[in-house]
């Protein structure tokens, strides 16, 4: 008994007191608030487009502020993508008719070369926000958004569709309201793939950030304060030393966002894992541990709980998340007919408008020209895939099969993959200029800089997933190195390789738009290809050619996906899934 008396009572332990974690978190919140306000003030500043700066200052002292503005754009795009994902994926998963329209639309949108649309969107957004930089900001955010949203929407939709049927049944029998169902069942069950996908898409988004901050549309050049515009200005002026500063800033941003945002988020979403046993190497995060030691998050949660309850009550009139078992056949068919007519009319109108626009401006013959240029770019894409396969498959297998190297290499590869390739362009271009390599050949390297990592990434993942017992079995049989590759390794990594290949090819097509025309030291170098066709049409404001180029490139991407990659995928699924 005396022992017990020496132990402080439960009350003493739980008495609120200021902990070091609280101080840290409190300071962190204040800093983030200050930065967001500062960056937003700049983004909403009034502007006269006639006198708007065509490029930004290349003084490295401006870089921290530029980085802040770029970050704000990235997170604004992420927020927009998340909202889009929630709305569109839920609609597709819950309304069978909406699904029939949304899924094919997303599939096409994700194969369309986004950068080709930049000119259209910039003009549109400037018209939406007259006299303010918000139009340009919105156009940049939209470009990043389009690189993230489709992926995230697909991921969330597939987790909604694949939701365990017993959870669905339990939710329906409990008669959860639509609002409750969404936040308590749907979002948590799709959380892990959504966050992973968001993280990957965010990494890809840097490329579009860099490409969209400085853009020429219809002989007008615009530049937003940001790291991407800084690089564009430095390259245009041939100041390679300033590019180094931008690269360093970029590396700090990528790593910082990873450390302060994605790692904690990934570690936190582990709670939504549905498997019974936790993974052996659970993602951990120092930041999350600090957060969990602080009382601030819980306090905030308590403070906002009434808001949640209010929303819950407010959403009650929208009804229970349940669908009727029986719908009169006549009503069902009538709705179907109306929907089909509407969609068909919209498509027909769009097709007619595009036809009319193109034939009256440049004539339909331009499709032939764009198609031939497309074949040239296709050749570059093919070379990239072949070379990247030869180089990165062995490296990826080597990294993936050794847990030790994997641990060391994974962050490096992740950094490389999300590092915007257009930041590295200046050095490659300087090299081409010095050695007289034409951009027709050099463009292959530029396009590869951004896209090859997907192959490496996926091969590492595939190789590290080969069960150890299989590898040991192969070793115990005394198979030679070549036999081991042929019998186990290549078949085992094939599915992940195909996934990497699709993404890499898509990335390369997109990159061709910024890689086939480059400006270096006040000089413009051009390669032959569909990317250059689109880029030149964009900067001269020739909308008809932009449209033709984008349509042809979409046909190439979608066609290759259907005819080539999807077949490989099928083989991978049926023959080589572990």
């Amino acid at each position: 008994m005396p022992l017990l008396r020496q132990v402080p009572g439960v009350g003493a332990l739980s008495r609120p007191r200021l902990r070091w974690a609280d101080v840290l978190i409190g300071a962190g919140i204040a800093v983030v608030f200050y930065l967001v306000v500062k960056a937003s003030l700049g983004a909403a500043a009034p502007i006269n487009l006639e006198t708007a700066p065509q490029s930004v200052s290349t003084d490295p002292a401006n870089l921290p502020y530029y980085a802040l503005r770029s970050l704000l754009r990235m997170f604004a795009a992420l927020a927009a993508s998340t909202v889009f994902t929630f709305v569109v994926s839920t609609a597709a998963a819950r309304l069978p008719r909406a699904e029939k329209i949304i899924l094919p639309a997303l599939d096409i949108l994700q194969s369309v070369p986004i950068l080709g649309f930049l000119s259209v969107t910039v003009t549109g957004f400037i018209a939406m926000f007259p006299g303010s930089t918000l139009g340009l900001e919105a156009a940049s955010v939209f470009a990043i958004f389009t690189s993230q949203a489709w992926n995230m929407a697909f991921s969330f939709h597939s987790s909604l569709v694949a939701q365990a049927s017993d959870l669905d049944e339990a939710a329906r029998l409990m008669r959860l309201t639509k609002w409750q169902r969404f936040w308590k069942v749907d979002v948590p069950s799709g959380m892990i793939p959504l966050v992973w996908n968001g993280m990957m898409s965010f990494g890809g988004g840097w490329f579009f950030l860099a490409a969209s901050e400085a853009i020429s549309v219809g002989n007008n050049s615009y530049a937003l304060p940001g790291v991407g515009a800084y690089v564009a200005a430095a390259v245009g002026a041939g100041e390679l030393d300033h590019v180094w500063w931008a690269i360093a800033t970029m590396a700090v941003m990528v790593l910082g966002v990873n450390f302060l945002f994605w790692r904690p988020l990934v570690a936190w979403t582990e709670r939504f894992r549905q498997e019974d046993t936790a993974a052996a190497d659970r993602p951990r995060s120092v930041v999350l541990e600090v957060l969990s030691h602080s009382t601030i998050p819980r306090g905030l949660g308590r403070a906002f709980a009434p808001v949640g309850r209010g929303l819950d009550a407010a959403m009650r009139p929208f009804g229970v998340a349940e669908h009727p078992l029986f719908v009169p056949a006549i009503r069902r068919r009538a709705t179907d007919v109306v929907l089909i007519v509407l969609v068909a009319a919209a498509i027909a109108y769009g097709a007619y408008w595009a036809y009319d626009f193109i034939s009256s401006n440049i004539g339909l013959g331009s499709f032939g020209e764009a198609f031939v240029l497309g074949l040239v770019t296709l050749l570059r894409v093919a070379v990239i895939i072949v070379l990247a396969t030869i180089v990165w498959v062995p490296v990826g297998v080597w990294i993936g099969m050794s847990p030790k190297i994997s641990r060391l290499a994974q962050p490096v590869v992740q950094l490389l993959a999300s590092f915007p390739a257009n930041f590295l362009f200046p050095f490659a271009i300087a090299f081409f200029v010095a050695t007289n390599i034409p951009l027709d050949v050099g463009g292959i390297l530029l396009m590869a800089l951004g896209s090859q990592w997907y192959i490496l990434f996926n091969v590492i993942a595939g190789a590290s997933a080969i069960p150890t017992d299989l590898r040991q079995a192969m070793e115990s049989f005394g198979l030679s190195r070549w036999q081991r590759w042929r019998r186990l390794i290549l078949p085992a990594i094939f599915p992940s390789f195909v996934t990497g290949g699709i993404t890499a090819a898509g990335g390369a097509w997109n990159a061709s738009i910024v890689a086939e025309v480059v400006t270096y030291n006040h000089e413009t170098i051009t390669a032959t290809g569909l990317g250059a066709y689109i880029a030149q049409a964009t900067s001269s404001g020739d909308m008809a050619r932009v449209l033709v180029g984008v349509i042809v490139m979409s046909v190439f991407v979608v066609g290759l996906n259907r005819l080539f990659w999807r077949r490989l995928y099928k083989i991978a699924e049926t023959r080589f899934s572990l």
Binding site: A164, D166, L167, E169, A170, R172, L173, M174, R175, L176, T177, Q180, K184, V185, P188, R271, F272, R273, Q274, D276, T277, A278, R309, D312, A313, R316, V320, E322, H323, P324, L325, F326, R487, R575
Partner: protein, 452 residues
């Protein structure tokens, strides 16, 4: 029971049929089922896999709509989740991101119960079901038995008129399920269970007889009510009492008794390679050749006759494991069910006694004689010029008869044919081959390297 005849009818199922569309046509899962659940009674739905018992339960829960007939709760036809029921799942179906308390509260939250009252009612349900002290645990921290207690607490906290249970103990180990089951029996007996009416779906005969006032035995393919048994034994029931054992034997007899008449052929099944053999509509029981041999050895060791209940006990088999093997032995004339017993035949005795090679030969002969699908494949192979047959063609033919189960039928036929060395299957080229086919031996080596 006469007492319940006057009680309120809570759930009425009238002439319910349910069929699902499959690749090759339609698969009827439930056929013309009528039943009534009255206030205060516990009903068990007993059947083997494929009897559609879970489908029937989901129709009653309002989760799926029947193709024909109607399901009503208190006289109102269901058109969505049944408001008077709560379901306990085989897989628990807990939300892993919520604690025990949050999981139990969720159903009340959906009803818009105020937070304070919600908390109090949830804590009471947790207390009743024996989960005290686990309120703040996450489901993944709990054992299977504790998780299912959360499942019960979550279902009972909303005080449903009818508690629906879908094989609630079958994911638990024997001891845990026994413990939880007897606790439920006790709760019903001492009145601490808030819901008096229940429907339990199970494939465990003893469980059904232990819990229920009424047992409905479902037939398979398609599911229809085969028999209804009133269990008049006083509760708690002693599983070793002769009355209890007699009921168990009776149910075994019903389950293995006269088979439902062979499935009607839907449409003309034509094949270009051979005329379709008679009896293809009789399905192959999904039993492995190893299990069939094991069963016969066991029978032979017990002197040729043994009760099915005893065999199931000895092997720790559920009826879903045992009955397909019994059906297979019966089909191949190796053993015959007689009431609650299984008796070995002369063929069976010889099969059990012979060495591997001779057993394989005998199996081959019997399979060609008695297993329609095996005979069909062998004939088609012999009639074809190449000595090979595309498995896809056979599958298409089977899909018209069996829908989703076509692949299982083909798998069983491949297993039996391989064992009897009647034909081989090359999964790379998706062909069935006669052993004399030039590709046959090579195919076998190749196949082993790729499967897994």
């Amino acid at each position: 029971m006469s007492m319940t005849a006057t009680a309120t009818e809570l759930i009425t199922v009238a002439n319910v049929s349910k069929s699902f569309a499959t690749d090759g046509g339609e698969k009827t899962v439930l056929s013309d089922i009528s039943l009534t659940i009255r206030e205060g009674e516990i009903v068990a739905l007993l059947g083997r896999s494929g009897s559609g018992k879970s489908t029937l339960l989901r129709c009653i829960a309002g989760l799926i709509g029947p193709t024909a007939g109607r399901v009503a709760y208190r006289g109102t036809r269901l058109n969505g989740a049944n408001p008077g029921t709560a379901l306990v799942f085989q897989s628990f179906a807990l939300l892993p991101w919520f604690t025990v308390l949050e999981n139990v509260e969720l159903g009340l939250e959906a009803k818009g119960v105020k937070p304070a009252e919600r908390r109090e009612r949830a804590l009471r349900a947790i207390d009743v079901i024996g989960l005290d002290g686990f309120e703040s645990a996450y489901p993944k921290e709990l054992s299977g038995g504790m998780r299912q207690r959360v499942g019960f607490a979550r279902a009972l906290v909303v005080e449903p008129d009818v508690l629906l249970m879908d094989e609630p103990f079958s994911a638990l180990d024997v001891l845990t399920s026994e413990n939880l089951r007897s606790e439920l029996v006790r709760m019903w007996a001492d009145g601490s269970m808030p819901t008096k009416t229940a429907l339990i779906v199970t494939h465990n005969i003893e469980e059904a007889i232990q819990l229920a006032d009424r047992v409905l035995v479902l037939d398979s393919n398609p599911g229809r009510i085969k028999a209804e048994l009133a269990v008049g034994l006083p509760k708690p029931r002693d599983r070793r009492s002769p009355e209890f054992e007699a009921l168990v034997d009776e149910v075994y007899g019903i389950l293995t008794g006269q088979k439902a008449e062979a499935r009607r052929t839907t449409g003309e099944s034509t094949t270009t390679t051979a005329p379709s053999g008679p009896g293809l509509e009789t399905p192959l029981p999904t039993a492995s050749t190893g299990a069939i041999g094991g069963l016969l050895e066991l029978l032979a060791a017990h002197g040729g006759t043994e009760g099915l209940a005893e065999i199931a006990d000895e092997l720790r088999y559920e009826i879903d494991d045992l009955l397909p093997v019994v059906d297979a032995a019966n089909l191949l004339n190796l053993a015959r069910p007689q009431g609650p017993d299984l008796r070995i035949t002369e063929q069976g005795r010889r099969y059990a006694a012979s060495d591997l090679l001779r057993a394989k030969e005998q199996f081959a002969t019997l399979a060609v004689e008695a297993a329609p699908l095996v005979r069909h494949i062998v004939r088609a192979l012999r009639h074809s010029d190449s000595g090979s047959l595309r498995a896809d063609d056979v599958l298409t033919e089977l899909k018209a008869l069996y829908g989703d189960e076509a692949e299982q039928q083909l798998d069983t036929a491949i297993d039996w044919g391989r064992y009897g060395e009647l034909y081989e299957f090359d999964s790379d080229s998706d062909r069935l081959l006669l052993p004399t086919h030039p590709d046959a031996a090579a195919g076998a080596d190749h196949r082993d390297a790729h499967e897994g």
